[in-house]
């Protein structure tokens, strides 16, 4: 009864546009009070205790730091030089610029931890370049938005950090390693339809006339950017630093490159960078901590066990249940962003995961793949929102192009479901 109220109240608040944090907190608090009428203060002291405890987790510190990394590398001039270098390698030809956009987004994915930050960095360089070469802006926005979705799969990733805080037995390094191969596969999977569509519709006809940057000079200029993922991922692997420390090392490295080497960041930009990444982090962190109140309510109302039992006894079988979950999450993902999906659904899904003995790391990769797809599935597609704004096109205009890329990346998800080793081989190999 109270459990039904919990969901109905939460969904109603959410639908009418109440911020998700307040919806989670209020629905949770009301249900705690109803269930604890004989307890001092109606058991509501669980609200501040869970709010504080939900935030007071050292691993979460990696979230603001990786958001800051994204914001710094956005402005560091690294993306432009990576693009030049990539063009120098692949040359000028039909469909080469979309290929470069995806490759650079994947590479930046090895530095940044969030999709929209990646879309902003790649979009700022690529969308204009693709326009000059004759690609329609809506297509460019679609490619950039989809390519940036590989960011949360390729380590480092804010999504994996939050998942690991929610699920015991899935460590950040293991998840980071597990996201690598699926992330690269997702990027490759996007390249196929992107290049094919470009050639089929004869886009980018002007590209061949544009100059090809000289290889060695563009390599030298791109070196600072090329070294960044080596420093971040290699440093974590070598045990030099924890994920949080890796993020901070990347912050100072990015500042050095942006302020001293490329001189694209001025001292006064620091205020904006720190303020904006601070605000974005706070928005994420507040949902994390308020979801803790909702989760407390969920687990003490005893709804998780019956729901789990009903699902696993539904006769759908293991893969039927997994398919159902994905359909459910894709639907929810049309309206809700990835962090919120994790925070609301992971507590509900973990018992099902445990029932089927699914590997928590593998399951985290599947969920993150789903979230990545959601980042460029309209209507709520955060990456497209960024890239469409840069391209100055409405999001509806991308629907024509993103469909094939969604399908192609969804096939990668099917592959990872069918062959869990695609996710699990690397972490095992590295000993996590």
């Amino acid at each position: 009864m109270i459990a039904t109220l919990l969901f109905v109240a939460f969904l109603a608040l959410l639908m009418v546009g109440v911020p998700i944090g307040a919806a989670l907190g209020l629905a949770g608090a009301v249900c705690i009070a109803l269930a604890n009428q004989d307890v001092q203060w109606f058991g509501l002291l669980a609200v501040p205790q869970n709010f504080y405890a939900g935030l007071a987790k050292y691993p979460l510190l990696a979230v603001p730091m990786f958001v800051l990394v994204g914001s710094i590398f956005d402005r560091s001039g690294v993306a432009l030089r990576l693009v030049n270098f990539a063009v120098a390698i692949v040359g000028r030809g039909p469909g080469m610029l979309p290929l470069v956009a995806i490759a650079v987004a994947m590479f930046l994915g090895g530095i940044s931890g969030s999709g929209p930050a990646n879309a902003a960095a790649v979009g700022a360089v690529m969308i204009a370049a693709m326009s000059r070469a004759g690609y329609p802006p809506a297509f460019s926005a679609s490619v950039v938005g989809a390519a940036a979705a590989t960011d949360i799969l390729i380590p480092p990733s804010v999504a994996f950090i939050i998942y690991s805080v929610l699920v015991t037995g899935a460590s950040v390094p293991a998840l980071f390693a597990a996201g690598m191969i699926p992330g690269v596969l997702a990027g490759l999977a996007l390249m196929i339809p992107a290049v094919w569509m470009a050639r089929h519709h004869k886009m980018g006809q002007l590209e061949a006339q544009l100059p090809r940057p000289p290889f060695w000079r563009s390599l030298r200029e791109a070196l600072w950017g090329l070294a960044a993922p080596v420093l971040i991922l290699g440093g974590m692997r070598a045990g030099w630093f924890t994920p949080t420390e890796a993020a901070v090392v990347a912050v100072f490295y990015g500042l050095f490159v942006g302020m001293v080497v490329h001189r694209t960041i001025k001292v006064r930009d620091l205020f904006t960078i720190l303020r904006e990444s601070g605000e974005l982090s706070a928005v994420i962190l507040l949902v994390v901590s308020l979801a803790g109140i909702f989760a407390y309510s969920l687990s003490t109302l005893g709804v998780i066990d019956p729901v789990t039992r009903a699902i696993v006894n539904s006769g759908l079988g293991e893969y039927g249940v997994l398919g159902l979950l994905i359909v459910l999450l894709v639907t929810v993902g049309m309206f809700l962003d990835g962090v919120s999906i994790f925070l609301i659904f992971v507590p509900l899904l973990v018992p099902i995961m445990r029932h089927y003995n699914w590997d928590p790391v593998w399951f985290g990769v599947i969920l993150t793949l789903k979230v990545a797809l959601g980042q460029f599935t309209p209507p709520l597609a955060v990456n497209l929102m960024v890239s469409c704004r840069i391209a100055k096109v409405p999001m509806e205009s991308t629907i024509r192009w993103v469909g094939w890329m969604l399908l192609s990346m969804a096939l990668v998800m099917v592959l990872v479901i069918a062959f869990p080793q695609l996710a699990l081989w690397l972490p095992r190999k590295l000993g996590y």
Binding site: G43, Q49, Y296, T300
Partner: protein
């Protein structure tokens, strides 16, 4: 009895099948059976009622967020400074010393303190002696520990102890510690031996164990005061008795393999390719000496009276 809850929330750090988890399970089962289902208890391992924050468990219990708990003296020391007694380095030389404290005058005084701090203490359990493990080399002296990064749990006393030994203590949850250990960012950790096998620590590179027994953390079975007062006197007695019996059974489980003359648990650990180092009395003394200033400093914080009583009871223990 309309004010009985349909279900009571019990917080634990570890779930079954660890001895700690079994303590909660046995207690809950006994209570349910003997009250004919009037008191139903659901286990919440991993301190999931406060998002896994072990150090907020006790305040949450006092505030009614948690109804009952089997908690470690280390985790509750931020709220009850007297509980640091059990973390004084090398206070308790053997299991008889632990029993002399928990079952004697010291145990009574600590229960009175827990009661003043806002919860009803019922019985003692045991997490066990905490042994040192690392990935580098056998540790026989404080010199061997020098510069090693050791993961410790959340009390400033532990940082002081490891700093005094020349090590480099870092505080982190177990979830962080696991990858830190396997990647070599952290060299070692300290925990009861049963956890070594349960958590398969040899797979995260912990190849060396030193059984120095520097501290042992007992567990305490507690109930929230309002919840306690809502029960009939007969039910309270059932809950108390059940806690005492569960505590006895749990202590036996926690010591299994370590009290027998040939210590089969250590043999099992050695069988995993782990080097187990046992200290000679002279070697142990070097550690005792190095940590003595920490002991003296914290004796004042904990209360000299209580520590003196503990020292007296340990000296007089039956071996």
């Amino acid at each position: 009895q309309s004010n009985y809850k349909a279900e009571y929330k019990m917080s634990l750090v570890l779930g079954p099948p660890t001895p700690w988890g079994m303590a909660g399970q046995i207690w809950a089962d006994l209570v349910k059976e003997r009250t004919q289902g009037r008191i139903n208890i659901k286990l919440y391992p991993g301190v999931s009622l406060v998002q896994g924050d072990q150090t907020r468990e006790f305040s949450s219990l006092r505030q009614g967020v948690i109804d009952m708990a089997v908690g470690s003296t280390i985790n509750w020391s931020p709220q009850i400074k007297e509980l640091n007694l059990f973390s004084l380095p090398f206070l308790m030389p053997d299991y008889a010393a632990v029993d002399a404290l928990t079952q004697g005058e010291v145990g009574k005084r600590i229960f009175a303190t827990v009661d003043r701090a806002g919860a009803v203490p019922l019985a003692w359990g045991e997490n066990g002696f905490r042994e040192l493990t690392n990935s580098k080399k056998p540790i026989k002296s404080p010199e061997d520990l020098k510069g090693m990064k050791i993961r410790v749990v959340g009390s400033p006393l532990f940082s002081d102890t490891f700093n005094a030994l020349g090590a480099n203590p870092t505080q982190m949850s177990w979830a962080d510690a696991q990858p830190a250990l396997s990647s070599g960012a952290v060299d070692g950790q300290e925990n009861p031996m049963f956890l070594f096998t349960v958590l398969k620590m040899h797979t995260v590179g912990q190849k060396f164990v030193t059984t120095w027994g520097y501290v042992a953390d007992p567990l305490i079975f507690v109930v929230n005061k309002d919840v306690w007062n809502s029960w009939s006197p007969a039910d309270r007695e059932i809950v108390r008795q059940a806690a005492i019996e569960a505590g006895k059974q749990e202590i036996a489980l926690a010591r299994k393999g370590l009290v027998e003359a040939d210590k089969p648990l250590l043999k099992d650990v050695a069988g995993m390719g782990v080097t187990v180092t046992t200290l000679s009395p002279a070697e142990r003394d070097a550690f005792v000496k190095a940590t003595r200033p920490v002991y003296e400093k914290w004796k004042a914080t904990i209360g000299a009276d209580l520590v003196n009583q503990a020292e007296k009871d340990i000296a007089a223990r039956k071996k």
